[in-house]
């Protein structure tokens, strides 16, 4: 394993921000894995750290294939994660909305450019990503529909689902989108959590990446094959929205089946305790996403269901 500082930025009073890469094997730049870009992505940092730990053992056992190399970048934004702030501390901008970056531009454009310059040559890009809506997901691989995406390749992770998303304008400045447009295949791995640790889930993501690297002939890994992934378009999922605001008491669980008409949650009056709304399943299927904070607005997506085919 080699450690390399990919980008460094000074501040007037803080220690430098250093983006570190951990490189395994030698030769072709085969795959790169990026972890926490936002300051609340603790689960993503943890998953990367466990991946580094596993890759050390794999490399020690001589199981990185000859002429192949893998780089892991556990954290892009130490300035935010160390002070528990989601975006960049000075200007509150999101580095994951700055790609491919600009090395003569604003600070976060420079950080994005500094990272992207060093990772864009890797043939495969994998990001442990987080979502902006608070909630829990079934672990899945997400790809943008750019015309370059290869769904069959995404199935090699062995996660339950491969979700294809039609990019919105703001997606065009994410790492995933630019990786795919500039060089090759990119995948975002979503685990259930972001700012809390779910160790089982993080380890599932680590195994998924190792499975994938094994199937791509980059290293040897003998884990179980995981799931036979189902490919689904994001807009095919059925959203279940709240009609009222209040305290959210959820019953339907992620990755479990629900039947049409089944009770999924209560919305409770925050002062008088009565049930304001019984949230029922509009169709039968599997719960893909579930709201997980104790309060909700009205007109908010509480669940997403993959309808039974």
């Amino acid at each position: 394993m080699r450690k390399k500082i990919l980008y460094e930025l000074s501040s007037i009073y803080r220690d430098n921000l250093r983006i570190k890469g951990y490189i395994f094997g030698k030769g072709e730049k085969s795959a790169c894995v990026v972890g926490a870009i936002r300051g609340n992505e603790v689960q993503q940092l943890y998953a990367c750290a466990q991946l580094v730990k596993a890759l050390k053992e794999i490399e020690k056992a001589g199981k990185i294939k000859e002429g192949k190399s893998v780089m892991v970048v556990p954290c892009v934004n130490t300035y935010s994660i160390n002070i528990n702030k989601r975006f960049y501390p000075i200007d509150n901008t999101d580095i994951n909305r700055m790609f491919p970056g600009y090395n003569q531009g604003e600070t976060t454009q420079r950080i994005a450019a500094g990272l992207f310059d060093t990772i864009q040559d890797y043939k495969i890009g994998i990001q442990f990503a987080s979502f902006y809506m608070p909630g829990e997901f079934i672990p899945h691989v997400r790809m943008m529909r750019t015309g370059y995406e290869k769904k069959e390749l995404a199935k090699e992770f062995g996660l339950p689902y491969v979700v294809i998303r039609d990019p919105k304008p703001y997606d065009t400045t994410t790492l995933n989108y630019n990786w795919q447009i500039w060089n090759g295949q990119s995948f975002s791995i979503y685990t259930s959590e972001t700012d809390k640790l779910d160790i089982d889930n993080a380890m599932q993501a680590v195994r998924a990446v190792l499975n994938f690297l094994d199937k791509e002939g980059i290293l040897e890994y003998q884990g179980h094959d995981g799931y036979i992934s189902r490919v689904i378009n994001e807009n095919e999922m059925v959203p279940v929205k709240s009609k009222n605001a209040g305290i959210f008491e959820g019953f339907a669980q992620v990755n479990k089946s629900v039947q049409k008409g089944e009770l999924m949650a209560y919305i409770i009056d925050p002062y008088e305790g009565n049930i304001k709304e019984r949230v029922m399943a509009p169709c039968s299927g599997t719960v893909f996403f579930a709201h997980d904070t104790p309060m909700t607005y009205n007109n908010t997506v509480l669940f997403k269901i993959i309808e039974e085919s």
Partner: protein
């Protein structure tokens, strides 16, 4: 009359409401009046538009007999942000001006609100979206126009009594702004940037209100006296120099915002208070107008210090 444009119930005994105030002629409406919509407060830390909304209404009330069309005023598209000194939408960490045209089906609360705002604004004969830079940078009164809307919008921008019209290149990410959503669906919107975040610059507000009356007169919404608007400089991207901090430190300006500067003249210094020294002296690369200048002193390498329009 005050209307609710979009509404969401918050969890505990509070409703989030997006308001507009509609001003109509004294004689009532006959159905073929033109409509102008004045919009501000998308970013909760940009307050320059608050004074414009007030002053515009005050002057209209003073000369009500001259109002011949509809004036819709939306002072706070992001009321939770304004009331909590938060630029984005509190609770979501979302830039509201990156989620348009919104989504009523499967999005989060801010996207639902955004869709309601777009629906209400659609069909206006002209919209003016007033921004105030951010807390870091001070801007002279200017209108920013996407290159693809140049022909349609520049003639109207010139009426607004602003100093500068910046026609910028199209960026994909800007497709999620309110202005793009409306302009691309046939409702014209001018984006004004002026002043600085978290402050009011009354002089700029008065200047813009004068211009809005000129625009209203052109549209047939106002028939009272108006000023002769300033003739703004109109430029494209190529004429604008961006000056970014070459290193981290504390920026102390030596130029005055909105003044002219000569090539190699000192814009300001980045200083190191710990060691009492100048880290970097920043010189102007061109002769021009300092239309953007950093207000917030702390800079990281790359922080924007100034924009200079080459003249």
């Amino acid at each position: 009359m005050v209307h609710v444009v979009a509404e969401v119930e918050l969890p505990v005994d509070e409703k989030l409401k997006i308001y507009k105030n509609r001003l109509i002629p004294e004689a009532g409406l006959c159905g073929d009046e033109k409509r102008i919509s004045i919009v501000t407060g998308t970013h909760g830390d940009e307050l320059e538009g608050q004074y414009v909304c007030y002053e515009l209404q005050r002057r209209i009330q003073e000369g009500k007999e001259h109002l011949k069309g509809i004036v819709d005023i939306y002072p706070a598209l992001n009321p939770l942000g304004i009331d909590s000194i938060t630029r984005g939408v509190p609770g979501f960490d979302l830039d509201m001006n990156r989620i348009f045209p919104g989504n009523t089906e499967s999005g989060a609360m801010p996207e639902y609100i955004a869709a309601g705002i777009v629906e209400d604004l659609s069909g206006s004969d002209m919209c003016v979206d007033i921004h105030a830079s951010n807390i870091f940078l001070k801007e002279i009164p200017q209108v920013r126009i996407n290159e693809k809307d140049r022909r349609k919008l520049v003639p109207y921008a010139k009426l607004l009594n602003i100093d500068y019209v910046w026609v910028h290149s199209a960026a994909t990410v800007l497709e999620s702004t309110l202005a793009y959503s409306l302009n691309s669906t046939g409702t014209p919107m001018l984006v004004v940037e002026q002043g600085v975040g978290m402050r009011l610059t009354r002089e700029y507000g008065d200047q813009l209100v004068d211009g809005i009356f000129v625009l209203m007169k052109k549209l047939g919404i106002w028939d009272g006296k108006v000023i002769k608007p300033k003739k703004p400089i109109v430029s494209k991207d190529g004429m604008v120099s961006f000056i970014n901090a070459p290193e981290s430190g504390i920026f102390v300006p030596e130029v005055v915002h909105s003044n002219r500067i000569k090539k190699d003249e000192l814009i300001g210094n980045i200083i190191d208070p710990l060691n009492g020294r100048i880290l970097n002296s920043i010189l102007s690369p061109v002769n021009g107008l300092v239309f953007t200048l950093r207000e917030y002193p702390v800079v990281n390498k790359g922080s924007l210090i100034a924009r200079i329009l080459e003249m």
